[in-house]
Symmetry: C2
Subunit: 369 residues, 2 copies
C-alpha cells in the first residue's frame, strides 16, 4: 500500500486545514487554465487512443461497443494530469502519450465493468453498454479495453527504454490491483448492507478504488517519465490521495445535486444503486435508530427492488441532516490539503504552465459544482 | 493473426491425414507419460500460483472468490505444455515458471468471465462463481485474476532479463486480445442466433478463442524462453492450432457424451447454453429445412428460455445424424495433423522426456474420452 495507511490521522489533518482555505474558492482564474489544458491534452490523448479501437475485428460485438465510451465526451482528467505531471518534471509530451492512452483505456475498462456490476443505466449522457448490449458483451468489451492498454505500455520500450517501460508496468499492476480491491470493498458493503460505516472507511475506499488510478498513478507515472525513474515517487502519493478524494466526493455530490445535462448520469443514480457515498455514510451517523432501521430496509434489496418513494425519502433525510453541506466541507478540506501537499512536492520545479495547471486542480475540483 | 489464415485449406489437409493415423490411437502408452508430466508440472505451477491469491485483501469478496477456481482440481494442461516446451528447447524449469503461473491466472480469469457470460452453472465439479457470489463479485474476481498475471510476467525481468520479459508480454498481449476477439465472435453467433455456420467458421473461432492461449501461446512462449528469443516462433503456430482444435472438439464431445463426475460440468450444458459446437454446426448442415426452423426456434431464447424437451430433442437429432461421430473424426484428423507438425518442428531437438510428452499430447487428447 501507499503511504497514507492511517486514514483517520489524515482526516484530522484535513479538517484542520479546511476552514481558512475553503473561502478562497470563488476565484474564476483556475477554471480557465485547467479547462484549456484538459481540452488540449484531452484532444491529443483521444486522437492517439481511438486508432487502438478503430481497426479491430469483430466490429459489431467487440470493437464497436469497446470504442463507445471513449468516443463519448469525457473529461480526460487522468491523461491530462499524467501529461502535465510528466512535463512539469521535464519530459516532452510525446514521451508521456503512450502511458496517457493506456490510462484512459484502463479507465474506460473500469467504467464498463463498474456499470455491469452496479447495473448502471447511464454513462456520459447515454445508456450504459450493459443496457445497450447486455451483460455478456459488456463484460467482454471491458476485457478488451483492459488488454488493449498493454500495447501502448509495451510501446514505451521504444520511447522510454526497457527499464522505465517495465517500471511503469509495475506501477500499472499495483494501481489496477488496488482499484479492483477497492471495488471489492464497495461490493462487499452492498452485499452486507453495511450501515455502520464511518468517514475513515469511505476515505480508505476511495484511496483504493478512485485515487489510486485517477490521481496517484498519473502524478507518479508522470514524475517517473519526467525524471526517468530518478525520484522517490512516494512523496507524491499524498497529493494524489487528497486531490482524488476531493474529486470523488464532489463527483458524488454532482450525482445528487447536479445538473443532469452536464453530469451525464441519472441523478440520484447513486441512491438507486445503494452506493455508500460520504453523504450516505453521514446519514448513517446522523439518523435516529428508527430511521437507521428504515434505511437498512430501503438499501437491502438490489437496485430493482428499491422504490422511487424510498429513494426520495433517503434524499430528503440527507437534506434534513445537512449531509450535502457536510460532504462539501470535507471535500474543501481535502482540496486544501492537496494544495498544501502540492507546495511541498512541486515547489522546486520551474514555473511552467503545467505546474500552474497542477496547482489549480484542487480549486477546479471544487468549482465544478 | 497467426499463420493459418485460410482455414478451409487447413481443413482439407487435416481430413487427408486423418484416416491412416486415427486407427493407431488405442495405444495406452502416451496416457501414462502425459499424465505423469501433467501431474508433476501442474503441482509445481499450482504451488507457485496459490501464494498470489492467498495474502490479498479484501478476502471474502475478492481473493477468496478469485482463488476458488485455481484451487479446484484442473488439468494444468497449459502451464505443463509451456514448461515442457521451454525445457524441450533447453531452458530449466525455473525460468519458465513465472510465465506458467501467469498463464494459469489468465486461464482462470477467462473461465470466470466465460461463466458469467454463458450463465454457466458448474465448473470443475462445483457451482460457478456467478452462481456462488452473483455477477458483480464474479466479474471483479475475474478482473483480479487477470491483473495478478502481470506480476509474475514482470518478475521475468529478473529471471530472463528485460528484453525477453518484454517479448513475452508482447506474446501475452496478442494472445489475450485474440481470445477476447474469439469470445466476441461466439457471443455474436448466439446474439444473432446464427444457424448458417460451417466447419471453417468453427475452426476460425477455436483458433482465436481456445488455441491462441491454450496451445499456441504455451508452445511459442516455451520456445521463446528456451531459445532466449532465438527462434522464429511462427513455425510452431500450426502445431498449436491443430492440437488445440482437437482438444476443444474433444472437450465439447465430453460435455455431451462424457461422464459427469470426471468432466466436472453439467452434461448437455453446451446445448443449454446454445453453444455452436462442431456437433451443433454439423446438425445445422444435416437438418431438414423443417428441423432447421425448429432448431432456430429452440436456440433463439437465452438459456433460461430453453426447455428440457428442446435440449433432449437437439441431442437426439445430433445422434440421429451421427454428429458425434463426425466430430470425433475431425478431432482425429486434427490430432493427426498436429502429430505431423510436431515431427516437422521438433525433430531437431534432443530426445528428452519433455519432447516425448509433446509428441504424445495429440494422442492423449483423443484418449480422454
Amino acid at each position: 500500500m501507499y503511504a497514507p495507511a492511517d486514514v483517520s490521522e489524515e482526516r484530522a489533518a484535513v479538517l484542520a486545514t479546511a476552514a481558512p482555505w475553503a473561502s478562497d474558492t470563488a476565484s474564476a482564474a483556475p477554471a480557465s487554465l485547467v479547462s484549456a489544458v484538459l481540452e488540449e491534452y484531452g484532444a491529443i490523448t483521444r486522437r492517439a487512443l481511438l486508432p487502438h479501437l478503430e481497426h479491430g475485428e469483430p466490429r459489431r460485438y467487440l470493437y464497436g461497443p469497446a470504442g463507445d465510451y471513449p468516443r463519448r465526451s469525457g473529461r480526460m482528467l487522468r491523461s491530462s494530469l499524467l501529461i502535465a505531471s510528466a512535463r512539469a518534471f521535464g519530459a516532452d509530451l510525446e514521451s508521456a502519450l503512450n502511458t496517457a492512452v493506456a490510462l484512459e483505456l484502463i479507465h474506460n475498462a473500469f467504467l464498463v465493468h463498474d456499470d455491469v456490476e452496479d447495473e448502471g443505466l447511464e454513462r456520459r449522457g447515454r445508456p450504459t453498454l450493459n443496457v445497450l448490449h447486455g451483460t455478456p458483451i459488456a463484460v467482454n468489451a471491458g476485457d478488451a479495453l483492459a488488454i488493449l492498454s498493454l500495447r501502448p505500455l509495451l510501446d514505451n520500450r521504444i520511447t522510454l527504454g526497457p527499464r522505465v517501460a517495465l517500471r511503469l508496468l509495475e506501477e500499472v499492476e499495483r494501481t489496477v490491483r488496488e482499484s479492483i480491491e477497492g471495488q471489492a470493498l464497495e461490493l462487499g458493503w452492498r452485499n452486507d448492507n453495511a450501515i455502520g460505516l464511518r468517514d475513515e472507511d469511505y476515505l480508505r475506499l476511495v484511496l483504493r478504488k478512485t485515487c489510486s488510478y485517477t490521481t496517484i498513478f498519473p502524478v507518479r507515472a508522470g514524475a517517473l517519465i519526467g525524471t526517468r525513474d530518478g525520484l522517490d515517487l512516494d512523496v507524491l502519493t499524498r497529493f494524489g490521495f487528497f486531490l482524488g478524494a476531493a474529486f470523488q466526493i464532489q463527483d458524488d455530490l454532482l450525482n445528487l445535486v447536479g445538473d443532469h445535462a452536464r453530469y451525464g448520469k441519472e441523478l440520484d443514480g447513486d441512491i438507486w444503486e445503494g452506493k455508500r457515498s460520504l453523504m450516505m455514510i453521514r446519514l448513517f451517523q446522523c439518523a435516529t435508530p428508527a430511521e437507521l432501521e428504515q434505511l437498512a430496509e430501503a438499501l437491502r434489496p438490489s437496485r430493482a427492488g428499491r422504490t422511487a418513494e424510498q429513494v426520495a425519502w433517503i434524499r430528503e433525510r440527507m437534506l434534513a441532516y445537512d449531509c450535502f453541506e457536510y460532504a462539501r466541507q470535507v471535500a474543501h478540506g481535502l482540496a486544501g490539503a492537496a494544495q498544501h501537499e502540492f507546495e511541498r512536492c512541486f515547489a522546486q520545479l520551474p514555473d511552467t504552465r503545467d505546474k500552474r495547471f497542477l496547482a489549480d486542480l484542487a480549486r477546479w475540483v471544487l468549482a465544478r459544482d
